[in-house]
Symmetry: C2
């Protein structure tokens, strides 16, 4: 059982609007027993999309349920997904065609290009997975062949984004980081008007389980005359939520705020690894580059907007006197109601902890809805407001998710910062104490960083994103 379920935080149903969708009914159960555990991230109501490799390295499109996954290509070929009375030729526009093409090639992109096919697939998969006797040897065999333990496969990133954009949408993150450098004026004047973002590197998006090599790079101590080149001494994680884009708009067209909710396919966890010492030296005037692009890791399952619908909520109210968003960012209907009541946590396990069999310790816990100044429809609309074309499968990350309290801060740069002392100078950093007696200000080689996220609400099944976990390995010098 994941540590996170030991103290589930639930939100009273009354604070969220009523929401009824038969695919989310809490009494639905499946014959995949592990999915019926109330602590599972992946009940039959979730059914996130993923990508794995078999032993030969062939990519396979899958759906996660409990501790198992459904092999889509195999299931489609069996005919078990077809609607009743669909034994004959399917019409040309039937969603099965898209699903078939995607599953056949092990390519998630067609599904994001035509996202309505996934609504259909989720319902068809639920029918196949619904509790009840297999009803015959053929179906028993199909259940055995098409639904396999996750452990049999190699997980690969489900995101094949050509374009990865990282935002800066948590105002607490922006304030805390800003106050390190500008205590008198932590937020820059543009922050409350512009959803700040920048382009990240897509080629170095990696999956959960991939080793993260400590980057080499230029750094310069404040007291040094010249920079030196060597392993980063301030390696950090950043806890983020990544939105996977559905559909496409042409260059020059953009996305209005009321169209934006329809462009959200689903979500993954994102760890935007950062080398703070490299970042400080390189980032002026064009922003972070090598401090970020050595690796960004994503969780293996794209949890759809549909499965998360009961957890959508309004954002934090703006303080009195704060400016209203400009009109292009002010929506009506769904776009105003697109924050998420989602818990996110970061855990860490040092190499010594793993050797001693000590469980990872949680070092932060926050709720997405308390942290975001801009919601995803606003980020999407802003991104497209100049005519930039957002493509199926693009990854838009939230930026570091931090709440107002120290224990809610989503990166070590903030998490170990003790603020300014009475003299107005920064107080010494406050290390995180590990059960082995080790201390952490930034990450050490051998540290494993684990991020998890889940939603929980009375009257609904828990829906989780699962986890992204990666171990830091030592830098490799080349010359």
């Amino acid at each position: 059982m994941p540590q996170s379920s030991a103290n589930p935080t639930t939100t009273a149903a009354s604070s969220l609007p009523n929401f009824t969708d038969p695919t989310l009914a809490p009494n639905l159960r499946t014959w995949v027993e592990s999915a019926n555990d109330p602590a599972s991230d992946f009940p039959i109501q979730n059914l996130p999309l993923g990508l794995v490799e078999d032993e030969e390295g062939t990519p396979l499109l899958v759906v996660r349920v409990g501790d198992s996954l459904v092999l889509l290509d195999l299931l489609i070929h069996s005919g078990a997904l077809a609607d009743d009375g669909e034994d004959g030729e399917l019409p040309d526009d039937h969603p099965m065609h898209i699903l078939h093409a995607a599953a056949h090639h092990g390519m998630p992109l067609p599904i994001m290009q035509y996202p309505s096919c996934w609504s259909w697939a989720r319902k068809a998969l639920q029918k196949f997975l619904l509790d009840g006797p297999a009803g015959g040897q053929q179906m028993r065999r199909l259940r055995e062949k098409a639904v396999r333990p996750v452990s049999e496969f190699n997980l690969v990133p489900p995101v094949w984004a050509a374009n990865y954009t990282d935002f800066y949408a948590s105002i607490h993150h922006a304030k805390t980081v800003g106050s390190m450098f500008r205590p008198e004026n932590p937020l820059l004047p543009n922050y409350r008007h512009v959803p700040i973002g920048y382009h990240g590197r897509s080629s170095s998006l990696v999956g959960s389980g991939t080793e993260i090599r400590r980057p080499m790079g230029q750094t310069k101590a404040d007291t040094a005359e010249s920079p030196t080149f060597g392993p980063s001494q301030r390696l950090d994680y950043e806890l983020e939520l990544g939105c996977v884009i559905a559909g496409q708009n042409d260059v020059g067209d953009g996305v209005t705020i009321d169209e934006a909710p329809g462009r959200i396919f689903g979500f993954v966890l994102v760890n935007d690894w950062s080398a703070r010492d490299m970042q400080a030296w390189e980032y002026q005037p064009l922003g972070p580059f090598l401090a970020k692009n050595f690796a960004t890791s994503v969780s293996p399952w794209i949890v759809t907007a549909e499965a998360l619908a009961p957890f959508r909520t309004t954002g934090p109210a703006r303080d009195a006197g704060e400016p209203q968003p400009l009109e292009y960012l002010r929506g009506s209907g769904a776009s105003t109601h697109w924050n998420l009541d989602m818990h996110l946590e970061v855990l860490i396990a040092s190499e010594s902890m793993r050797k001693a069999g000590t469980a990872p310790v949680r070092i932060s816990l926050a709720n997405f809805k308390d942290c975001m100044y801009w919601n995803f429809p606003q980020l999407i609309t802003h991104h497209g407001s100049n005519g930039c074309n957002l493509m199926p499968g693009d990854l838009l990350a939230s930026g570091t998710i931090s709440g107002p309290d120290m224990q809610q801060r989503g990166c070590l740069l903030e998490r170990t910062w003790a603020g300014h002392g009475p003299d107005g100078k920064p107080a010494p950093r406050q290390p995180i104490m590990l059960p082995t007696g080790e201390k952490r200000i930034f990450l050490e080689d051998g540290d494993e960083v684990i991020m998890r996220a889940w939603c929980q609400r009375d009257g609904y099944r828990r829906i989780g994103l699962g986890e992204v976990r990666n171990i830091v390995v030592p830098a490799k010098a080349r010359s």
Copy 2:
């Protein structure tokens, strides 16, 4: 004849090392007569790779020669490219297999993945194109079918970069832009140590001829209390050279400075369109975003490093007292000799000029070798120094190419800037006067921007990159 050839600037051969390569011998002539014109950018010594679409929109891999292009797939199927005595089965590792796969699918990427196949292809194509009688009706027909006028096809960008990085490697550009905001300290302390760069947007890479829609965006006048949303009033071009990457390094591996020259496949012209008013308001603290990602246009032909070899030269000497690059950026051999003696110009034609039949006017001319503080091997090595994986077909752009003189400045932000007055305050901008009496400080709707680049040297044929040209069209509001 392009305007640029009216006053060709040649470099004395003695200032560049001797270079002999039979594929570059100046006496080679082809039966494609237009390619034998000394003013052509595309003699038989060049043979750049391109991508076009036929009437049905099918992508076709082609090679430019004179005013024509060679249809690769058709030529390969004819058998005319096979070496003598290669009529039988080709060995598994024969470059023809790569070329065949690339041409068959209209996909340039396999060629950049295995770039040595293009050395072979260039030689084989030269043989097919070499002057001489066709020698038989079959070959005459093949020449007619496989070599077609460029005008019959729709040019598409030859770059399918998933990853586009933009640098800032021209010190004169950095100094001029810096001095607008910080006259006392134009260059930031990191500039002479770090090849500054940032990630651009690959989805909005467009080709020559594509209309560029003026972007909408947030801007804030210095005197205004709040920002407003509307069409950019300070639309600009940026003249850049783009390097297309060959081969691949894994995440965590990097590229040493002596490996870097081998990662250069070839070059295109890049116009990195920029909305200066949006940039000024949004770029702190994470760099330019919507001010750039609405469109970046590239020229249609990837001119290979091989064809440009005679024009490689050392960079400008560093001033006395300037720091040496850190060791990872200090190469030996080829990597120290990888600047380019290449002329680059920008021309403009307003809508009124086009209506009046007035030719475009040149507004800047610079030589790449005088402008760059960092050469491409240094940019590549720096990019990979943290373990970032550079992929086949990636596009690395130089940043705005500007020389020390006003007429050598590669964007309007610099080109119309008259510097600081005697009172230390910025002097009024100096508009560019067009033949129609129109003035330009930034771009107006209907303006066509044309960029061209070419290399010229005694004892060699001119090798050109051709041009990238685009017309600005009015902003489109959406709501």
